[in-house]
């Protein structure tokens, strides 16, 4: 099957800034794919290149087999992009805007049923006749997502769709996106919320400084990097022998990173030797955040 998105040695320079330093990535049709990375890693640049909003300095991107530069009409027909910024056209109401958006893609009245379904699914039904200008921030975000879906694109790119969005909307949004994914749409997502990527994405790419530093299924990444965490509440400070394992420690609560379970025994014996009492102890599974930190480095602004 033709990949949903095929990115081949793509580079992008903005003057002296080397925003993307040769990215290769293939996303298959039907995937729920996560693109993670700190601010400035190049996620949005990559998305803008897919959408044809930017031109690559080098390399090639295909959407469902169509080159985004030379066959842009076909590639854009297959792509729906939700921009990161909360932009809107102040002249029209929600339903008008969505019908226009579908119209730009050559869709006519036969598409109105789909537009209404999108409006319904995103909880915009009672705002359908409200001017975009009068919508609250959360409603604008929904309308923005609806606009990207108006022409029913097979490949949907969401650039941080849940930034500044309340829990209720986030839930509703993910239910809808999951349904679209089940119906065969390819979903590509960038997000700051790692737990979201962990819960939703089958596969994840992590970017740092214009490069992909990790690419695997979410499960493999978790297995490969994270191991387990041992959280201890102690009545004294941590013995020096355990400091190399220390991941985080404050107010007498210390988190140790374990590569294997055998290290629990070692930690406990060291604590006994140092005469430190354990007040509480928890063994935790690592999450994507640990993988992320180990990949892109501690102290990154996620």
């Amino acid at each position: 099957m033709i990949p949903a998105v095929n990115i081949e040695s793509v580079e992008k320079r903005f003057g002296t800034l080397h925003a993307l330093k040769g990215v290769d990535l293939t996303i298959e049709q039907g995937e729920f794919f996560g693109l993670l990375g700190p601010n400035g890693a190049g996620k949005s640049t990559l998305i803008n290149l897919m959408a044809g909003l930017l031109k690559p300095t080098h390399g090639q991107i295909k959407v469902v087999g169509y080159d985004v530069q030379t066959q842009y009409q076909q590639s854009r027909q297959n792509l729906g992009v939700v921009p990161q910024e909360l932009v809107f056209d102040p002249f029209f109401n929600v339903r008008e805007m969505l019908r226009f958006q579908a119209g730009y893609f050559g869709r006519g009245p036969e598409n109105d049923i789909w537009v209404d379904e999108v409006i319904e699914s995103l909880g915009l039904a009672d705002k359908a006749h409200t001017n975009m200008r009068r919508l609250s921030g959360g409603m604008k975000r929904r309308a923005l997502i609806a606009q990207a879906l108006a022409h029913k694109p097979p490949v949907i790119v969401l650039d941080e769709p849940t930034a500044g969005v309340d829990v209720e909307l986030r839930q509703m949004l993910w239910d809808f996106i999951k349904k679209l994914n089940r119906d065969g749409h390819t979903i590509i997502l960038t997000t700051h919320y790692l737990e979201e990527a962990e819960a939703l994405c089958g596969r994840v790419a992590m970017m740092k400084a214009g490069e992909i530093v990790a690419l695997d299924t979410t499960q493999n990444l978790l297995k490969q990097f994270a191991g387990k965490n041992l959280r201890l509440k102690l009545d004294d400070t941590l013995p020096a022998s355990l400091l190399p394992m220390l991941k985080q420690g404050e107010d007498g609560i210390f988190t140790l990173a374990l590569n294997e379970l055998g290290q629990v025994e070692y930690a406990l014996s060291e604590l006994r030797k140092a005469n430190v009492d354990i007040q509480d102890m928890q063994l935790l599974e690592a999450d994507l955040e640990d993988v992320f930190l180990s990949m892109v480095g501690k102290g990154s602004d996620i």
């Binding site: 029209f92 730009y104 006519g108």
Partner: protein
């Protein structure tokens, strides 16, 4: 029923027309009022003092000039303000994400600006014929110059809209380019009444040809032949269209 092939461009054209129609108080009524105020003041002050063409009262002489001036300004305003607004607001991205080609984009924007220009011109005409007896000698020339003039300024507006990044840059364009060219184009006078030097200067102003040729359609009289005027206007239109398409094709300031 429109074929899916043309639905994209039709939708964008419709949206651009609705955009100014929704705020027609500002985009249609206010330029008509401005033109009528000019008419009232200038005709009151100058009616008995200025005679440009024999048998043509000054007020009648003034109307085609005011119509053309308003048409040109509004055609320019439509494309330029739509582009600069959606650039500053960021919603231009919704159009840039679509499969619309740069040529389709240009035609849709231009079409809407011509509609707005013609609507303003027609409205001024409808109102002023209640007060002034205005002949129509050559309807064909009137329509040709109206269309070509609106298209020229609509195209110019696309260039300005792509180039400008802020509202004050656009205002500078409006005040330092469009306004002087309009006022020094013979809206209010015949260039034959000017000293020789300024007559020569006026002949470098494309606005002069649009207004002179348009006026010929009403009175059958003009400072220079309408054939020369239309040639100049079409040449300018071709030049600006070429430049606009080149900018759009390259993605200048729109696609980095």
């Amino acid at each position: 029923m429109i074929s899916p092939k043309y639905r994209g461009i039709w939708t964008l054209f419709k949206k651009e027309v609705l955009r100014f129609w929704r705020v027609s108080f500002q985009t249609l009524a206010s330029p008509v009022l401005t033109a009528l105020l000019y008419l009232l003041i200038f005709s009151h002050v100058l009616e008995d003092r200025v005679h440009v063409y024999k048998d043509v009262p000054y007020t009648a002489f003034l109307i085609p000039g005011l119509m053309m001036m308003s048409m040109l300004q509004n055609a320019f305003a439509n494309t330029s303000s739509s582009l600069i607004q959606s650039k500053v607001m960021g919603n231009l991205v919704f159009i840039l994400l679509t499969p619309l080609s740069y040529l389709q984009l240009f035609i849709a924007f231009l079409g809407a600006s011509v509609i707005r220009g013609l609507a303003v011109g027609l409205a001024i005409y409808m109102v002023s014929i209640w007060f002034v007896d205005l002949p129509i000698m050559h309807l064909g020339w009137i329509l040709v110059f109206a269309l070509a003039g609106c298209a020229l300024l609509g195209t110019f507006g696309v260039i300005a809209g792509i180039w400008a990044e802020k509202f004050d840059q656009m205002a500078a364009f409006q005040n330092f380019v469009i306004m002087p060219l309009t006022f020094l184009s013979g809206v209010f006078y015949s260039i034959h009444s000017l000293p020789a030097f300024w007559q020569t200067v006026s002949k470098f102003n494309p606005f002069f040809y649009m207004i002179d040729g348009f006026r010929y359609g009403f009175f059958g009289k003009s400072d220079i032949s309408p054939w020369v005027s239309i040639l100049v206007v079409v040449a300018f239109l071709a030049l600006l269209t070429w430049l606009t398409l080149k900018m759009l094709k390259s993605g200048y300031k729109l696609r980095g």
